[in-house]
Protein backbone atom coordinates (compact mmCIF):
# COMPACT_ATOMS: atom_id res chain seq x y z
CA UNK A 1 0.00 0.00 0.00
CA UNK A 2 2.85 2.40 0.82
CA UNK A 3 4.25 2.52 -2.71
CA UNK A 4 0.79 2.79 -4.13
CA UNK A 5 0.07 5.95 -2.16
CA UNK A 6 3.27 7.60 -3.35
CA UNK A 7 2.47 6.72 -6.92
CA UNK A 8 -1.06 8.03 -6.45
CA UNK A 9 0.13 11.31 -4.98
CA UNK A 10 2.62 11.81 -7.79
CA UNK A 11 -0.06 11.10 -10.38
CA UNK A 12 -2.57 13.46 -8.80
CA UNK A 13 0.06 16.18 -8.51
CA UNK A 14 0.87 15.75 -12.14
CA UNK A 15 -2.72 15.70 -13.37
CA UNK A 16 -3.59 18.86 -11.46
CA UNK A 17 -0.38 20.73 -12.22
CA UNK A 18 -0.71 20.08 -15.96
CA UNK A 19 -4.39 21.00 -15.94
CA UNK A 20 -5.40 17.57 -17.21
CA UNK A 21 -7.99 17.68 -14.46
CA UNK A 22 -9.28 20.67 -12.53
CA UNK A 23 -10.39 18.68 -9.50
CA UNK A 24 -9.17 15.41 -8.04
CA UNK A 25 -11.28 13.20 -5.79
CA UNK A 26 -9.54 10.68 -3.57
CA UNK A 27 -9.27 9.71 0.06
CA UNK A 28 -7.75 11.84 2.77
CA UNK A 29 -7.18 11.55 6.48
CA UNK A 30 -10.35 10.96 8.46
CA UNK A 31 -11.35 12.66 11.67
CA UNK A 32 -12.49 9.60 13.59
CA UNK A 33 -10.26 6.61 14.41
CA UNK A 34 -10.20 3.95 11.70
CA UNK A 35 -11.72 6.18 9.05
CA UNK A 36 -10.69 8.07 6.00
CA UNK A 37 -12.72 10.82 4.40
CA UNK A 38 -13.25 11.79 0.77
CA UNK A 39 -10.71 14.39 -0.26
CA UNK A 40 -11.54 16.86 -3.00
CA UNK A 41 -8.60 18.96 -4.10
CA UNK A 42 -8.06 21.50 -6.83
CA UNK A 43 -4.38 22.30 -6.44
CA UNK A 44 -1.35 20.12 -7.02
CA UNK A 45 0.29 20.98 -3.71
CA UNK A 46 -2.56 19.28 -1.84
CA UNK A 47 -1.87 15.95 -3.54
CA UNK A 48 0.30 15.09 -0.54
CA UNK A 49 -2.88 14.83 1.54
CA UNK A 50 -4.09 11.81 -0.38
CA UNK A 51 -4.06 8.54 1.52
CA UNK A 52 -4.56 4.92 0.54
CA UNK A 53 -5.09 2.29 3.22
CA UNK A 54 -7.49 -0.32 4.57
CA UNK A 55 -10.01 2.33 5.54
CA UNK A 56 -10.77 3.76 2.11
CA UNK A 57 -14.36 2.57 2.20
CA UNK A 58 -16.35 5.39 0.61
CA UNK A 59 -17.55 5.03 -2.95
CA UNK A 60 -16.26 8.23 -4.50
CA UNK A 61 -18.20 7.75 -7.75
CA UNK A 62 -21.03 9.62 -6.07
CA UNK A 63 -19.11 12.86 -6.65
CA UNK A 64 -19.27 12.46 -10.43
CA UNK A 65 -22.85 13.73 -10.39
CA UNK A 66 -22.42 16.41 -7.71
CA UNK A 67 -22.23 19.84 -9.28
CA UNK A 68 -20.00 21.16 -6.47
CA UNK A 69 -17.32 18.91 -7.96
CA UNK A 70 -18.16 18.74 -11.65
CA UNK A 71 -18.58 22.49 -12.05
CA UNK A 72 -14.80 22.81 -11.56
CA UNK A 73 -14.07 21.06 -14.84
CA UNK A 74 -12.54 17.68 -15.57
CA UNK A 75 -12.55 15.30 -12.64
CA UNK A 76 -9.81 12.90 -11.65
CA UNK A 77 -11.19 10.16 -9.46
CA UNK A 78 -9.79 7.31 -7.39
CA UNK A 79 -11.78 4.10 -7.68
CA UNK A 80 -11.51 0.60 -6.32
CA UNK A 81 -12.78 -2.24 -8.49
CA UNK A 82 -16.15 -2.15 -6.76
CA UNK A 83 -16.46 1.63 -7.09
CA UNK A 84 -15.54 1.42 -10.78
CA UNK A 85 -18.79 -0.51 -11.32
CA UNK A 86 -20.70 2.56 -10.22
CA UNK A 87 -18.76 4.66 -12.72
CA UNK A 88 -19.69 2.11 -15.38
CA UNK A 89 -23.32 2.44 -14.36
CA UNK A 90 -23.16 6.20 -14.66
CA UNK A 91 -21.63 5.88 -18.12
CA UNK A 92 -24.31 3.40 -19.18
CA UNK A 93 -26.96 5.87 -18.10
CA UNK A 94 -25.37 8.86 -19.74
CA UNK A 95 -24.72 10.71 -16.50
CA UNK A 96 -21.01 11.10 -17.05
CA UNK A 97 -19.15 11.85 -20.25
CA UNK A 98 -16.15 9.53 -20.40
CA UNK A 99 -13.87 12.26 -21.72
CA UNK A 100 -14.60 14.44 -18.67
CA UNK A 101 -13.28 11.94 -16.17
CA UNK A 102 -9.80 10.62 -15.56
CA UNK A 103 -10.27 7.31 -13.78
CA UNK A 104 -7.48 6.18 -11.48
CA UNK A 105 -8.05 2.55 -10.56
CA UNK A 106 -6.45 1.28 -7.37
CA UNK A 107 -5.52 -2.34 -6.92
CA UNK A 108 -7.17 -3.27 -3.65
CA UNK A 109 -6.76 -6.29 -1.38
CA UNK A 110 -9.91 -5.50 0.53
CA UNK A 111 -11.06 -2.90 3.00
CA UNK A 112 -11.81 -2.91 6.68
CA UNK A 113 -10.15 -4.19 9.78
CA UNK A 114 -11.41 -6.92 10.12
CA UNK A 115 -11.84 -7.47 6.38
CA UNK A 116 -15.31 -6.65 5.12
CA UNK A 117 -17.27 -9.74 4.21
CA UNK A 118 -17.94 -8.53 0.69
CA UNK A 119 -14.24 -7.89 0.14
CA UNK A 120 -13.56 -11.52 0.92
CA UNK A 121 -15.56 -12.47 -2.19
CA UNK A 122 -14.26 -9.74 -4.50
CA UNK A 123 -13.55 -10.52 -8.11
CA UNK A 124 -12.22 -7.10 -9.10
CA UNK A 125 -9.21 -6.62 -6.88
CA UNK A 126 -7.51 -4.81 -9.71
CA UNK A 127 -9.66 -2.63 -11.97
CA UNK A 128 -9.11 -2.98 -15.69
CA UNK A 129 -6.69 -0.59 -17.31
CA UNK A 130 -6.28 0.72 -20.82
CA UNK A 131 -5.96 -2.79 -22.24
CA UNK A 132 -9.53 -3.67 -21.27
CA UNK A 133 -11.91 -4.51 -24.11
CA UNK A 134 -14.87 -2.37 -25.09
CA UNK A 135 -17.14 -4.28 -22.74
CA UNK A 136 -15.26 -3.33 -19.63
CA UNK A 137 -14.52 0.02 -18.12
CA UNK A 138 -10.96 0.99 -18.91
CA UNK A 139 -9.34 3.02 -16.19
CA UNK A 140 -6.96 5.69 -17.46
CA UNK A 141 -4.42 4.64 -14.88
CA UNK A 142 -4.14 1.62 -12.65
CA UNK A 143 -1.97 1.74 -9.60
CA UNK A 144 -1.06 -1.80 -8.68
CA UNK A 145 -1.33 -4.70 -11.07
CA UNK A 146 -3.47 -4.10 -14.17
CA UNK A 147 -5.55 -7.11 -15.23
CA UNK A 148 -8.78 -8.04 -16.92
CA UNK A 149 -11.55 -8.53 -14.34
CA UNK A 150 -12.26 -12.08 -13.19
CA UNK A 151 -14.94 -14.13 -14.82
CA UNK A 152 -18.48 -13.78 -13.55
CA UNK A 153 -19.28 -15.66 -10.42
CA UNK A 154 -21.12 -18.95 -10.87
CA UNK A 155 -21.91 -19.64 -7.26
CA UNK A 156 -24.53 -17.32 -5.90
CA UNK A 157 -24.68 -19.30 -2.73
CA UNK A 158 -21.98 -17.38 -0.94
CA UNK A 159 -22.74 -14.06 -2.54
CA UNK A 160 -26.41 -14.04 -1.53
CA UNK A 161 -26.26 -16.11 1.65
CA UNK A 162 -27.67 -13.29 3.77
CA UNK A 163 -30.52 -12.78 1.31
CA UNK A 164 -31.25 -16.51 1.38
CA UNK A 165 -31.47 -16.41 5.17
CA UNK A 166 -34.34 -13.93 4.96
CA UNK A 167 -35.94 -15.83 2.10
CA UNK A 168 -35.94 -18.95 4.24
CA UNK A 169 -37.99 -17.26 6.96
CA UNK A 170 -41.75 -17.80 6.97
CA UNK A 171 -43.66 -14.86 5.50
CA UNK A 172 -44.92 -13.55 8.85
CA UNK A 173 -41.41 -13.52 10.32
CA UNK A 174 -40.08 -11.73 7.29
CA UNK A 175 -42.75 -9.10 7.67
CA UNK A 176 -42.01 -8.70 11.38
CA UNK A 177 -38.27 -8.38 10.68
CA UNK A 178 -38.73 -5.63 8.14
CA UNK A 179 -41.38 -3.84 10.23
CA UNK A 180 -38.83 -3.59 13.02
CA UNK A 181 -36.10 -2.39 10.66
CA UNK A 182 -38.25 0.17 8.87
CA UNK A 183 -39.64 1.37 12.19
CA UNK A 184 -36.16 2.61 13.09
CA UNK A 185 -35.53 4.65 9.96
CA UNK A 186 -35.34 8.40 10.59
CA UNK A 187 -35.47 9.42 6.89
CA UNK A 188 -32.10 11.10 6.96
CA UNK A 189 -31.63 9.92 3.34
CA UNK A 190 -27.97 9.15 3.97
CA UNK A 191 -28.59 5.96 1.97
CA UNK A 192 -29.77 7.96 -1.01
CA UNK A 193 -27.19 10.72 -0.76
CA UNK A 194 -24.16 8.43 -0.70
CA UNK A 195 -25.45 6.21 -3.51
CA UNK A 196 -23.72 6.95 -6.82
CA UNK A 197 -26.75 5.71 -8.72
CA UNK A 198 -29.23 7.89 -6.80
CA UNK A 199 -28.51 10.94 -8.89
CA UNK A 200 -32.02 12.18 -9.66
CA UNK A 201 -32.26 15.92 -9.27
CA UNK A 202 -35.77 15.39 -8.01
CA UNK A 203 -36.20 12.20 -6.06
CA UNK A 204 -39.51 10.33 -6.14
CA UNK A 205 -40.03 11.21 -2.49
CA UNK A 206 -39.78 14.91 -3.32
CA UNK A 207 -42.74 14.81 -5.67
CA UNK A 208 -45.57 16.47 -3.88
CA UNK A 209 -48.32 16.93 -6.45
CA UNK A 210 -49.52 14.51 -5.18
CA UNK A 211 -47.27 13.36 -2.35
CA UNK A 212 -46.74 9.80 -3.50
CA UNK A 213 -44.34 8.80 -0.80
CA UNK A 214 -44.92 10.05 2.72
CA UNK A 215 -41.93 12.03 3.92
CA UNK A 216 -42.69 11.33 7.57
CA UNK A 217 -40.52 8.89 9.48
CA UNK A 218 -43.28 6.48 10.43
CA UNK A 219 -43.16 2.81 9.55
CA UNK A 220 -45.63 3.03 6.66
CA UNK A 221 -43.74 5.92 5.09
CA UNK A 222 -40.38 4.27 5.65
CA UNK A 223 -41.65 1.00 4.19
CA UNK A 224 -42.76 2.71 1.00
CA UNK A 225 -39.50 4.69 0.78
CA UNK A 226 -37.22 1.68 1.07
CA UNK A 227 -39.30 -0.53 -1.22
CA UNK A 228 -39.43 2.12 -3.93
CA UNK A 229 -35.74 2.94 -3.57
CA UNK A 230 -34.88 -0.74 -3.94
CA UNK A 231 -37.12 -0.88 -7.02
CA UNK A 232 -35.55 2.22 -8.56
CA UNK A 233 -32.11 0.70 -8.04
CA UNK A 234 -33.07 -2.75 -9.31
CA UNK A 235 -30.60 -3.77 -11.96
CA UNK A 236 -28.57 -0.63 -11.29
CA UNK A 237 -27.19 -1.07 -7.80
CA UNK A 238 -23.60 -2.31 -7.95
CA UNK A 239 -23.50 -3.57 -4.39
CA UNK A 240 -20.83 -1.20 -3.07
CA UNK A 241 -22.50 -1.16 0.37
CA UNK A 242 -22.22 2.60 0.82
CA UNK A 243 -25.89 2.91 1.78
CA UNK A 244 -25.68 0.39 4.56
CA UNK A 245 -22.46 1.90 5.91
CA UNK A 246 -23.98 5.36 5.88
CA UNK A 247 -27.18 4.43 7.72
CA UNK A 248 -26.96 5.81 11.25
CA UNK A 249 -29.55 3.30 12.43
CA UNK A 250 -27.62 0.32 11.04
CA UNK A 251 -30.56 -0.92 9.00
CA UNK A 252 -29.37 -3.81 6.77
CA UNK A 253 -30.27 -1.98 3.58
CA UNK A 254 -27.99 -4.02 1.38
CA UNK A 255 -30.33 -6.98 1.87
CA UNK A 256 -32.97 -5.23 -0.21
CA UNK A 257 -30.58 -4.23 -2.96
CA UNK A 258 -28.90 -7.63 -3.01
CA UNK A 259 -32.26 -9.32 -3.24
CA UNK A 260 -32.97 -7.24 -6.33
CA UNK A 261 -29.51 -7.96 -7.75
CA UNK A 262 -30.10 -11.67 -7.21
CA UNK A 263 -33.47 -11.47 -8.95
CA UNK A 264 -31.99 -9.51 -11.85
CA UNK A 265 -29.24 -12.07 -12.24
CA UNK A 266 -31.58 -15.04 -12.04
CA UNK A 267 -34.28 -13.69 -14.32
CA UNK A 268 -32.35 -11.49 -16.73
CA UNK A 269 -28.80 -12.85 -16.53
CA UNK A 270 -27.47 -9.39 -15.90
CA UNK A 271 -25.09 -7.85 -13.41
CA UNK A 272 -24.98 -4.10 -12.97
CA UNK A 273 -21.84 -2.16 -13.65
CA UNK A 274 -19.78 -4.62 -15.70
CA UNK A 275 -20.24 -3.51 -19.26
CA UNK A 276 -20.39 0.19 -20.11
CA UNK A 277 -21.99 -0.64 -23.47
CA UNK A 278 -24.74 -2.85 -22.07
CA UNK A 279 -28.31 -1.69 -21.67
CA UNK A 280 -29.40 -1.77 -18.02
CA UNK A 281 -31.67 -4.73 -17.28
CA UNK A 282 -34.81 -2.74 -16.57
CA UNK A 283 -34.35 -0.61 -19.65
CA UNK A 284 -34.60 -3.51 -21.99
CA UNK A 285 -36.52 -6.79 -22.31
CA UNK A 286 -36.54 -10.17 -23.98
CA UNK A 287 -39.55 -11.72 -25.68
CA UNK A 288 -38.77 -14.80 -23.66
CA UNK A 289 -38.87 -13.06 -20.25
CA UNK A 290 -40.57 -14.99 -17.49
CA UNK A 291 -44.30 -15.23 -17.94
CA UNK A 292 -45.32 -18.04 -15.56
CA UNK A 293 -46.91 -15.90 -12.90
CA UNK A 294 -49.44 -14.39 -15.30
CA UNK A 295 -52.91 -15.85 -15.47
Amino acid sequence: MAEAVEELRALARDLLAKGTVQVFVGYGKGASPGRTAPLIITSADRAAELVWDKHCLNNLAVYLTRSEVTKRGKVGIVVKGCDARAVTGLLQEGQVARENVVIVGMSCDGMGEPLLEACGRCDVHTPAGKDADAHHLACDYVIGKAAVPDAQKEDEGAEYADVARIEALPLAERWAFWQEQFGRCVRCYACRQVCPLCYCKRCAVEKNEPQWLATSAHTAGNFAWHVIRAMHLAGRCVGCGACERACPQHIPLSLLNKKMAKAVLQHFKYRAGNDPTAAPAVKTFELSDENDYFR
Binding site: L171, H218, F223, A224, M231, L256, K259, M260, V282, N291
Partner: protein
Amino acid sequence: MEKKAETEKAVWQPKIIAFVCNWCTYAGADLAGTSRLKYDAHIRVLRLPCTGRIDPLFILKAFERGADGVLVSGCHPGDCHYNTGNYHARRRWTLFRELLEFVGIDLQRLQFAWVSAAEGAKWAEVVNAMVAHVRELGPFEGYHTMLARSGQTLWLAKAGANGGNGSGHDVPGTQPVERSKEKQETE
Protein backbone atom coordinates in the same frame (compact mmCIF):
# COMPACT_ATOMS: atom_id res chain seq x y z
CA MET B 1 -79.23 3.99 12.12
CA GLU B 2 -80.36 0.44 12.40
CA LYS B 3 -79.19 -0.23 8.89
CA LYS B 4 -75.75 1.00 9.86
CA ALA B 5 -75.66 -1.29 12.83
CA GLU B 6 -76.61 -4.17 10.59
CA THR B 7 -73.86 -3.49 8.11
CA GLU B 8 -71.43 -3.26 11.03
CA LYS B 9 -72.15 -6.88 11.75
CA ALA B 10 -72.04 -7.86 8.06
CA VAL B 11 -69.25 -10.04 6.69
CA TRP B 12 -66.01 -8.30 5.74
CA GLN B 13 -65.68 -7.89 2.00
CA PRO B 14 -62.33 -7.79 0.23
CA LYS B 15 -61.22 -4.62 -1.49
CA ILE B 16 -59.41 -5.37 -4.72
CA ILE B 17 -57.96 -2.71 -6.95
CA ALA B 18 -57.27 -3.56 -10.57
CA PHE B 19 -54.84 -1.59 -12.68
CA VAL B 20 -55.58 -2.42 -16.28
CA CYS B 21 -54.57 -1.20 -19.68
CA ASN B 22 -57.08 0.68 -21.79
CA TRP B 23 -56.70 -1.25 -25.02
CA CYS B 24 -56.93 -4.84 -23.92
CA THR B 25 -58.05 -5.62 -20.42
CA TYR B 26 -60.33 -2.65 -19.98
CA ALA B 27 -62.02 -3.53 -23.25
CA GLY B 28 -62.17 -7.14 -22.15
CA ALA B 29 -63.81 -6.13 -18.90
CA ASP B 30 -66.26 -4.05 -20.89
CA LEU B 31 -67.01 -7.08 -23.02
CA ALA B 32 -67.72 -9.09 -19.89
CA GLY B 33 -70.23 -6.41 -19.02
CA THR B 34 -71.95 -6.24 -22.37
CA SER B 35 -72.08 -10.04 -22.41
CA ARG B 36 -73.85 -9.86 -19.05
CA LEU B 37 -71.31 -12.16 -17.49
CA LYS B 38 -71.64 -12.27 -13.72
CA TYR B 39 -68.51 -11.90 -11.63
CA ASP B 40 -67.64 -10.80 -8.13
CA ALA B 41 -68.26 -7.10 -7.71
CA HIS B 42 -65.59 -6.52 -5.05
CA ILE B 43 -63.16 -4.99 -7.45
CA ARG B 44 -62.44 -1.45 -8.56
CA VAL B 45 -60.94 -1.01 -11.98
CA LEU B 46 -58.46 1.76 -12.76
CA ARG B 47 -57.77 2.38 -16.42
CA LEU B 48 -54.34 3.31 -17.69
CA PRO B 49 -53.23 3.71 -21.28
CA CYS B 50 -50.81 0.80 -20.98
CA THR B 51 -49.43 -1.56 -18.38
CA GLY B 52 -46.13 0.15 -19.04
CA ARG B 53 -47.58 3.16 -17.27
CA ILE B 54 -48.12 1.25 -14.06
CA ASP B 55 -45.57 2.40 -11.53
CA PRO B 56 -44.89 0.05 -8.61
CA LEU B 57 -45.83 3.08 -6.54
CA PHE B 58 -49.44 2.72 -7.68
CA ILE B 59 -49.54 -0.78 -6.30
CA LEU B 60 -48.07 0.34 -2.98
CA LYS B 61 -50.47 3.24 -2.85
CA ALA B 62 -53.40 0.89 -3.33
CA PHE B 63 -52.27 -1.15 -0.33
CA GLU B 64 -51.70 2.07 1.60
CA ARG B 65 -55.26 3.13 0.93
CA GLY B 66 -56.70 -0.12 2.16
CA ALA B 67 -56.64 -2.56 -0.74
CA ASP B 68 -56.56 -6.16 0.41
CA GLY B 69 -55.41 -7.24 -3.01
CA VAL B 70 -54.17 -5.73 -6.26
CA LEU B 71 -54.71 -7.13 -9.73
CA VAL B 72 -52.66 -5.93 -12.68
CA SER B 73 -53.67 -6.87 -16.19
CA GLY B 74 -52.87 -5.88 -19.75
CA CYS B 75 -52.35 -6.92 -23.33
CA HIS B 76 -50.76 -10.27 -24.10
CA PRO B 77 -47.03 -10.01 -24.90
CA GLY B 78 -46.80 -9.12 -28.56
CA ASP B 79 -50.18 -7.41 -28.64
CA CYS B 80 -49.37 -4.20 -26.82
CA HIS B 81 -51.02 -1.19 -28.40
CA TYR B 82 -47.76 0.67 -27.92
CA ASN B 83 -45.71 -2.31 -29.11
CA THR B 84 -43.42 -2.79 -26.13
CA GLY B 85 -45.07 -1.27 -23.07
CA ASN B 86 -46.08 -4.58 -21.57
CA TYR B 87 -42.63 -6.07 -22.09
CA HIS B 88 -41.07 -3.32 -20.00
CA ALA B 89 -43.81 -3.68 -17.43
CA ARG B 90 -43.31 -7.43 -17.22
CA ARG B 91 -39.66 -7.04 -16.25
CA ARG B 92 -40.56 -4.50 -13.61
CA TRP B 93 -43.17 -6.72 -12.04
CA THR B 94 -41.00 -9.81 -12.07
CA LEU B 95 -38.71 -7.84 -9.77
CA PHE B 96 -41.36 -6.00 -7.77
CA ARG B 97 -43.28 -9.07 -6.75
CA GLU B 98 -40.05 -10.71 -5.57
CA LEU B 99 -39.26 -7.63 -3.54
CA LEU B 100 -42.68 -7.55 -1.93
CA GLU B 101 -42.46 -11.22 -1.09
CA PHE B 102 -39.01 -10.60 0.37
CA VAL B 103 -40.42 -8.04 2.79
CA GLY B 104 -43.17 -10.44 3.81
CA ILE B 105 -46.17 -9.81 1.59
CA ASP B 106 -48.21 -12.80 0.41
CA LEU B 107 -48.13 -12.69 -3.37
CA GLN B 108 -51.66 -14.00 -3.55
CA ARG B 109 -52.53 -10.39 -2.81
CA LEU B 110 -50.72 -9.22 -5.93
CA GLN B 111 -51.76 -11.00 -9.10
CA PHE B 112 -51.02 -10.45 -12.73
CA ALA B 113 -52.90 -11.42 -15.86
CA TRP B 114 -52.93 -10.94 -19.60
CA VAL B 115 -56.51 -10.37 -20.70
CA SER B 116 -57.23 -9.31 -24.26
CA ALA B 117 -60.14 -7.24 -25.53
CA ALA B 118 -61.83 -10.44 -26.71
CA GLU B 119 -61.49 -12.25 -23.41
CA GLY B 120 -64.51 -11.09 -21.48
CA ALA B 121 -65.00 -14.53 -20.01
CA LYS B 122 -61.39 -14.71 -18.93
CA TRP B 123 -61.73 -11.37 -17.15
CA ALA B 124 -64.65 -12.67 -15.15
CA GLU B 125 -62.70 -15.81 -14.28
CA VAL B 126 -59.61 -13.86 -13.26
CA VAL B 127 -61.57 -11.52 -11.02
CA ASN B 128 -63.51 -14.33 -9.41
CA ALA B 129 -60.33 -16.25 -8.69
CA MET B 130 -58.60 -13.18 -7.27
CA VAL B 131 -61.46 -12.21 -5.02
CA ALA B 132 -61.82 -15.79 -3.80
CA HIS B 133 -58.13 -15.95 -2.93
CA VAL B 134 -58.19 -12.68 -1.07
CA ARG B 135 -61.41 -13.58 0.70
CA GLU B 136 -59.66 -16.70 1.96
CA LEU B 137 -56.64 -14.72 3.10
CA GLY B 138 -58.76 -12.17 4.85
CA PRO B 139 -58.10 -8.45 5.25
CA PHE B 140 -54.51 -7.31 4.78
CA GLU B 141 -53.99 -6.97 8.50
CA GLY B 142 -50.23 -6.71 8.44
CA TYR B 143 -50.33 -3.65 6.23
CA HIS B 144 -53.27 -2.18 8.11
CA THR B 145 -51.47 -2.56 11.43
CA MET B 146 -48.47 -0.79 9.93
CA LEU B 147 -50.74 2.02 8.77
CA ALA B 148 -52.41 2.25 12.15
CA ARG B 149 -49.11 2.50 14.02
CA SER B 150 -48.14 5.22 11.54
CA GLY B 151 -51.09 7.31 12.61
CA GLN B 152 -53.11 6.88 9.41
CA THR B 153 -56.59 7.82 10.55
CA LEU B 154 -58.58 5.30 8.56
CA TRP B 155 -56.64 2.49 10.15
CA LEU B 156 -56.49 3.84 13.68
CA ALA B 157 -60.25 3.51 13.71
CA LYS B 158 -59.92 -0.16 12.98
CA ALA B 159 -56.93 -0.63 15.23
CA GLY B 160 -58.96 -2.64 17.67
CA ALA B 161 -59.03 -5.53 15.24
CA ASN B 162 -55.28 -5.67 15.15
CA GLY B 163 -54.25 -5.06 18.72
CA GLY B 164 -50.56 -4.74 19.35
CA ASN B 165 -49.11 -1.84 17.44
CA GLY B 166 -52.34 -0.33 16.19
CA SER B 167 -51.84 2.54 18.56
CA GLY B 168 -50.40 5.34 16.45
CA HIS B 169 -47.20 4.13 18.08
CA ASP B 170 -44.83 5.81 15.62
CA VAL B 171 -46.56 9.14 15.72
CA PRO B 172 -47.13 10.69 19.16
CA GLY B 173 -50.42 12.54 19.18
CA THR B 174 -52.36 9.94 17.23
CA GLN B 175 -54.33 7.69 19.49
CA PRO B 176 -56.77 5.11 18.15
CA VAL B 177 -60.25 6.49 17.72
CA GLU B 178 -62.77 4.88 20.03
CA ARG B 179 -65.29 3.00 17.92
CA SER B 180 -68.24 4.26 19.91
CA LYS B 181 -67.20 7.88 19.45
CA GLU B 182 -66.76 7.41 15.74
CA LYS B 183 -70.17 5.82 15.36
CA GLN B 184 -71.78 8.75 17.17
CA GLU B 185 -70.33 11.22 14.77
CA THR B 186 -71.23 9.40 11.61
CA GLU B 187 -74.79 8.71 12.65
